[in-house]
């Protein structure tokens, strides 16, 4: 036998502890691998979605105006030299329903009218089942597979078009779109149909919003020049990269949270591993002392401990990968099911798996280095004393773990591809700093806070409470770090919940501020303002019905021209209804300026990006059309959705009509009379919207939808954070088990003095309960602090300020208590089952 065999035997001698530690490492690696695999699937999905959207097309020629590209423009594009294939896309909002009856369903979908032959030539769309659109099946329609599943629809089912010509036959679902490409647009609420069918169904043809073009090889410049030369209507040329960027923007939040959570999992895992190895060492101090006394050098001892760390790291990391793949598969399924983000099928990316494995091994080795160095310094005399105790200060013991934690976070930053939409580095670093700081603070706060938290336990459980609380002070670093791992995980749960609550408040504020009166009607196609004014104003109980025409402009900024959306609003209606949060200007003056004409309100985010401020002159122009200079009358915290998801610039309705000729609108803001109840008015608006083949919007419903989609996303990550809580729980099992092993004789003395098995078990569970309570309390504070930090750093995203969901915070404290109590059960059984006599002879 060689000396190194001792390292292995030492692990196999305590199989339960070795397995527990390996499992802790495995879960940490699994969380990282699962999160990264999901993030990888999301990243690939973005790329795939853009590729699928374009198919063989190289360019998308998009109409600048909402009127779309005219027939001449579409024809002109087709014949530009170098254009191999051109595929026009017509787009409109549609109201559809299933067959009338008790199970009738009504949907609002974005319908895309395509030319089936051109689509086939471009090799799209990608279907999961069924057949593509075909001239022989003019009433065939394609819907997204996930959307169909959500609404219990399948191939062969029929959809009726609301507001279509009477003779229009129902559409039949002939194919299901993959949740990518077309199927990824509008959150999957999309319907593909032949353009001719769409045009035949309605009085007004749907505008061609874009023409996708496949360019013959090597003739790109020729086509670009041809477009500039031929088209008289304003247009924008986009590529697959633009589509990819748009998809990526839409799920930046997902990638950001995934990254943050990966760091949290790593931190919790690192705490657990570092602590367990330190405990393993502490448990084996006597053995090491014997080895040292027998002539083993410090270097040899260090090698033994590092070998143990490596064995645990290899074992845990190897076990963690399959678990991580399982977690990734579950996450991808959930994300796909809830459409929280675009995800591709799970692919076992060798890079991700190697990264997770390497990280697990590195963290274990890093965490093992400190105890290894300590082991090498163990004095044989000190180690062989009957009651050997670590004599070093708490901070000295902790600082290396803090260094290890920081190294882990740094490794995460270095190795994780940040361009995937991670949150700002400063905010992330600060957030992780608060989490780690909170965790380390736990070690220091454990004893004083434990005294306070333990008081009711002492009162309730007497000796068990007193001893349980007193035990916390026995190995402060070790116990503190175990609680720290739990704290980090619990703090992540609090952060996610508090962020969701704060964002919910913001969503409500946003929606309420952009919908005067709280109601609106959105038509499926833009219609003449004058033609509809009387009809919409006649809605019962309406105080005012105000059209909101929307159109695109080019804004001249110091960095060049950029595209922006503009909405025309009636200043009086919006002012009287208390809508819009005006910042950096007097509200009355801003609305007066808008009423006076020649003024614009800019969304705060747009002002930040472009550098425009109140009083500046801004040049707005419709390419090839009207142009005018406007004075910035003020900034608004939120605005109506504009192009590319950014807020629209707001001009007065009069300016929109007079200057830009915007005589059509799809959106009408509805202000109810004071006497109208919410439910009653909601019903009449819904009825009016249905008559106009449009949809009714209410602030409450929109805010709820926004909040729900956010909560769905965060809820998903809650599940991951809860796994980190399980890791924290394992740490407590480990620590308490070791504590019980060390206190064997002490427990036997208590039993000899009449402490029953139940009391001994209660003592250990009480100790765990106090640990969990302290962890929960610190986690609640740290979690709220992290969200507070995010709110401070991103005031625009959290304009409603910090909202603390107290029920959740209390639930997390109770969760900490519960998890710790559960974690305490096994060590409690160990303690209770120790034979008294044998234990009295135990020599620590």
């Amino acid at each position: 036998m060689r000396l190194s065999a001792i390292a292995w035997r030492s692990l196999t001698a305590r199989p339960a502890r070795t397995a527990l530690t390996g499992l802790g490492v495995a879960l940490g690696v699994a969380l990282v691998a699962g999160t990264l695999l999901t993030a990888d699937a999301a990243t690939r999905a973005v790329s795939e979605a853009a590729q699928d959207l374009y198919g063989e097309a190289d360019l998308r020629v998009r109409a600048f105006d909402d009127d779309g590209l005219g027939t001449e423009s579409v024809a002109a594009i087709r014949v530009i030299p170098g254009v191999a294939i051109s595929a026009p896309l017509a787009e409109r909002r549609l109201l559809l329903s299933t067959q009338p009856g008790p199970n009738e369903q009504v949907f609002t979908l974005t319908a895309v009218g395509v030319d089936p032959a051109s689509e086939a030539a471009l090799g799209r769309p990608r279907l999961t089942s069924g057949v593509p659109l075909d001239a022989d099946r003019p009433n065939g329609a394609l819907v997204a597979a996930q959307w169909a599943a959500d609404h219990r629809l399948d191939l062969g089912d029929e959809l009726l078009l609301t507001g279509a010509r009477l003779e229009t036959p129902p559409l039949t679902i002939v194919g299901l779109l993959a949740n990518s490409g077309f199927g990824a647009q509008a959150g999957g609420s999309v319907l593909l149909v032949a353009r001719d069918t769409l045009n035949a169904a309605f009085e007004v043809p749907s505008p061609v919003t874009a023409v996708d073009v496949a360019v013959a090889e090597g003739r790109m410049a020729e086509v670009e020049a041809g477009l500039d030369r031929t088209l008289t209507q304003p247009f924008v040329v986009e590529t697959v990269a633009d589509a990819e960027a748009a998809f990526a923007r839409a799920q930046a939040g997902f990638a950001g949270i995934a990254f943050l959570l990966g760091l949290v999992a790593l931190s919790a895992g690192a705490f657990l591993v570092a602590n367990t190895l330190a405990m393993t060492l502490s448990e084996r101090t006597r053995e090491i002392g014997l080895l040292r006394a027998a002539g083993t050098t410090g270097r040899q001892v260090r090698g033994l401990v590092i070998r143990q760390g490596m064995a645990l790291g290899l074992l845990g990391s190897a076990l963690g990968l399959p678990i991580g793949i399982g977690i990734g598969a579950i996450l991808v399924n959930i994300v796909a099911g809830t459409r929280a983000a675009l995800v591709a099928d799970l692919t076992l990316s060798p890079a991700v798996l190697a990264f997770s494995f390497g990280l697990g091994l590195s963290v274990t080795l890093l965490a093992g280095w400190v105890p290894a160095a300590e082991a090498a310094r163990v004095s044989p005399l000190e180690a062989l004393r009957p009651t050997h105790r670590p004599g070093r200060g708490l901070w000295i013991r902790l600082r290396w773990i803090v260094v290890a934690e920081l190294a882990v976070v740094a490794a995460g930053f270095l190795l994780y591809p940040l361009e995937r939409g991670a949150p700002p580095i400063v905010a992330t670093l600060l957030a992780v700093g608060v989490l780690i700081g909170g965790a380390v603070a736990t070690a220091f706060l454990l004893e004083p806070l434990g005294r306070v938290v333990g008081a009711p336990f002492e009162r309730l459980f007497g000796a068990q409470g007193l001893l349980g609380r007193a035990n916390l002070g026995r190995h402060r670093a070790r116990t503190g770090l175990s609680v720290a791992a739990l704290t980090v995980a619990l703090a992540a749960v609090v952060t996610l919940g508090t962020t969701a609550a704060s964002a919910r408040g913001t969503a409500e504020r946003w929606v309420q501020s952009i919908l005067p009166g709280g109601y609106a009607i959105r038509l499926t196609v833009a219609s003449s303002i004058d033609a509809l004014q009387d009809t919409i104003e006649a809605t019962p109980g309406t105080l005012s019905a105000s059209p909101v025409p929307e159109f695109g402009v080019v804004v001249t900024t110091p960095d060049g021209d950029r595209e922006a959306g503009v909405a025309g609003i009636d200043p009086s209606v919006w002012q009287d209804a208390g809508a819009l949060i005006v910042v950096e200007a007097d509200r009355t003056a801003a609305f007066d300026a808008l009423r006076g004409g020649g003024a614009v309100l800019l969304p705060e985010s747009f002002a930040t990006q472009t550098g425009f401020g109140t009083g500046d002159l801004i040049h707005l122009a419709i390419p090839g059309g009207a142009a005018a200079d406007f004075t910035v009358a003020g900034l608004v915290a939120y605005s109506l959705p504009g192009r590319s998801g950014e807020g629209a610039l707001l001009v007065s309705l009069a300016d929109a009509r007079a200057t830009f000729g915007a005589e059509q609108a799809t959106m009408w803001a509805m202000v109810p009379q004071l006497a109208m109840g919410e439910t009653a008015y909601g019903a009449v608006v819904a009825e009016k919207a249905a008559q106009l083949a449009g949809e009714a919007l209410t602030a409450a419903v929109l805010a709820e939808q926004l909040a729900r989609s956010l909560e769905r996303l965060l809820g998903l990550f809650d599940a991951l954070a809860l796994l980190a809580v399980v890791i924290g729980g394992l740490g407590i099992v480990n620590t308490l088990s070791l504590g019980v092993a060390e206190r064997t004789r002490e427990i036997a003395v208590l039993r000899a003095h009449g402490m029953t098995v139940g009391q001994v078990e209660g003592m250990v569970v009480t100790e765990a309960a106090i640990m969990g309570s302290v962890g929960g309390i610190v986690a609640a504070a740290a979690g709220v602090a992290v969200t507070g930090l995010l709110v401070t750093l991103a005031p625009r995203d959290f304009a409603a300020g910090l909202v603390i969901p107290w029920p959740l915070v209390i639930a997390v404290v109770l969760l900490g208590l519960g998890v710790a109590c559960l974690a305490g059960l096994y060590p409690a059984r160990l303690a209770g089952n120790r034979p008294v006599l044998a234990s009295l002879k135990h020599f620590e």
Partner: protein, 247 residues
């Protein structure tokens, strides 16, 4: 009045394929207020006997009756409660709870019984005064000398005024002076408080404090030496009797 009675105690341990008889039919009786020492060489079975008498272990056969309760037939829970009510233990290695203060350690049996330190403060302070540690009530155990720690352990064992105090080599880990102090305290508790004591030791000097010495060899009581109550604790007579036994 007999406070402790053991009848035909047998303790057999399996060792490999065979078995070892640690005790082979030991019977004894201890009267209330009596100080009895059990002497014997290492491996003679004296500690096994003490553990059976204290209810820490169960005999293979035979029975132990403490204050009228046959503890040999009790389950673990009942045996534990009987220990709590009727016995006190002093061990060679003090076994104080390091995280509790001296006062809390002395009060431990009360705490285990569901009472608070506050409720039994007077009793605890009396015990601390008895063992001469009034001024160190709020000290941690590791701030005390070995002798002082054993005095705390003794006070803890006496806290509930147990029917029986069992001491297992209480001086085995102490220097000569400290050991003497502990033996004096044991003797005083017996003489002044009427405490019944069973002391296991291999030292004649300690055993000489007892009224009666039971000599154990090979799992049996070899002889019983009646010394009577003697304030001088002179071991001379005991040593003579032991020499006659060839010990």
């Amino acid at each position: 009045m007999t406070i402790l009675e053991a009848q035909n105690l047998v303790k057999r341990y399996p060792v490999g394929d065979g078995q070892v008889d640690a005790l082979r039919g030991v019977s004894l009786a201890v009267e209330r207020g009596e100080f009895v020492a059990i002497m014997g060489a290492s491996g003679s079975g004296k500690s096994t006997l003490l553990h059976l008498l204290g209810g820490l272990d169960k005999p293979t056969s035979g029975q132990v009756v403490i204050d009228g309760v046959n503890i040999s037939t009790l389950d673990d829970e009942q045996a534990t409660l009987t220990r709590r009510d009727k016995t006190g233990f002093v061990f060679q290695f003090f076994n104080l709870i390091p995280l509790l203060t001296v006062r809390e350690n002395v009060a431990l049996p009360f705490l285990i019984g569901g009472e608070s330190v506050h409720e039994r403060r007077q009793r605890v302070d009396e015990l601390l005064a008895m063992v001469g540690l009034t001024g160190k009530a709020d000290h941690a155990p590791d701030q005390l000398s070995a002798g002082e720690q054993q005095r705390v352990a003794l006070a803890r064992a006496l806290a509930t005024e147990p029917a029986l105090l069992l001491a297992d080599e209480p001086t085995g880990n102490l220097d000569y002076t400290s050991g003497g102090e502990i033996l004096d305290l044991l003797w005083r508790s017996c003489v002044q408080l009427g405490q019944t004591i069973v002391l296991v030791t291999h030292e004649a000097r300690a055993a000489a404090y007892a009224d009666r010495v039971l000599v154990v060899r090979d799992g049996q009581i070899l002889d019983q030496i009646d010394l009577g109550r003697r304030p001088d604790h002179d071991p001379g007579e005991l040593l003579t009797r032991l020499a006659l036994l060839g010990l």
